[in-house]
Symmetry: D2
Subunit: 150 residues, 4 copies
């Protein structure tokens, strides 16, 4: 499936600036590891501040980094003056989020004029091993300034 | 649809104790507002610590309180010695999470021996108004101690 | 949640004509039972032609009537010159689709300028009893003639 | 991610026999193209009997062959005396199902004792071109004879 290249040559600056404005990313200690056309990766370290009742990372945080990685993946392909809106997402949890470090990966499957469909994964790193913790399928929407002005 | 009553008379104590062990709920400032057979409600106040790039509450946190409310709703109907596992969830975002206060509501649609299906809502309270911010559909799984021992 | 009334007074004619053009509805023997602003109902009788391996109605057909009922529910609120596009759907199966007659119900939860979010249910009627067989959450998109012409 | 091999050496016979009992597959003209451990493929030819209002294949049928391919993919890895139950699925529609021939592909992402998570794709073949029409994420459940007897 042909993926359009980024229409905005400054996409990485635009995305890093958006990520830096997300208060939640600071609170949970997440970093934007990588951003390239149609893909982004978010890294998270384990801390007690983000746990569920058994001491593993909370499903809500697993979902957060998958969804955010998908959103920024889609946003790499959107016009410079656009904003991105999360329409919906669906996540399956495959294993407990047990590890020292986690990486959420978002990839664009299809990028249209209005909607983009992305797939997400979250991997847990524990010692030398990595485990696929969750898979996501999500829809993102481009909102252009003209549309906002209407 | 017939909903089975709670099998564990101590369900509220069990659930409040589980909620209190979730580090993430403290970090985001969420409280377990209400728990009754087949339903739970989680309350969250606005803070900059949980925002996305436009200063609204992050979609990941909206999803977290919907999923957690659904999980505890399902857990009210599970046996005393069971644990709960989130299988998957699906969320549609209807409006920006703009408000002073948010309530996630989880309700059991069907509770089976192994799986429970729940529906979730997140409401934003802003001044005197309330807005439906997101709707969720999710599957939860009962894990009993015998199963864990196998 | 405020639901906009139908913008097109001829919505029922438009929808019945669209339904009549769906070859699949004839093939499976489905009828458009009811259509009102923000809601539609599709009825289906049991036949061997639509079964899975145990002789119940196939999950794919349960999903089809839920999705179609949601689509026409959303379409009641769309402009006269618009077309409707299914963006995505999510379905949970609650019980085997065992019965003489089935009704898929679609209701609009939120109808925006571009996207509508709907919830669907499928009920099985067996003797005097009815059972909730599946619940759906879905996104529909309005495509206007101007957009198609761009 | 390690995928367990099939536990039942007769898995293909078991699956082809199950497929042959699905009345719906005959009605829509679908064939089981391929089945191997953790994967299955279902083929469908275009006909007016399976169309929506614009003459393309109905979204419900696209969803049906994706879900069915996922179900049989999961069933390849289940014990000989088990039955399979569809728990839920989620599908994103990427392009109109326009073509002469369609192939639904299901692959197991994770196969556990009780639940399996699969991903599905539907491809349209039109002249010499192929287009990705839809992507699915779904949960399947193993039901063993002992469990049914309880």
């Amino acid at each position: 499936m042909k993926k359009p290249g980024p229409r905005d040559p400054e996409f990485e600056t635009r995305i890093r600036s958006s990520f830096a404005r997300q208060g939640l990313m600071k609170t949970i200690g997440a970093k934007l590891l990588k951003v390239s056309p149609g893909e982004s990766q978010i890294e998270l370290s384990y801390s007690k501040a983000i746990t569920q009742q058994h001491g593993f990372v909370h499903a809500g945080i697993v979902s957060t980094i998958a969804d955010n990685a998908c959103g920024y993946a889609a946003y790499t392909l959107m016009p410079a003056d656009s904003e991105i809106l999360g329409v919906e997402n669906k996540i399956n949890f495959l294993a407990p989020a047990k590890g020292e470090r986690f990486v959420g990966i978002g990839r664009v499957i299809k990028s249209g004029r209005t909607l983009a469909v992305c797939s997400g994964e979250v991997w847990a790193y524990n010692g030398g091993e990595k485990t696929l913790v969750a898979v996501m399928q999500t829809t993102m929407m481009t909102v252009t300034k003209q549309e906002k002005a209407r």
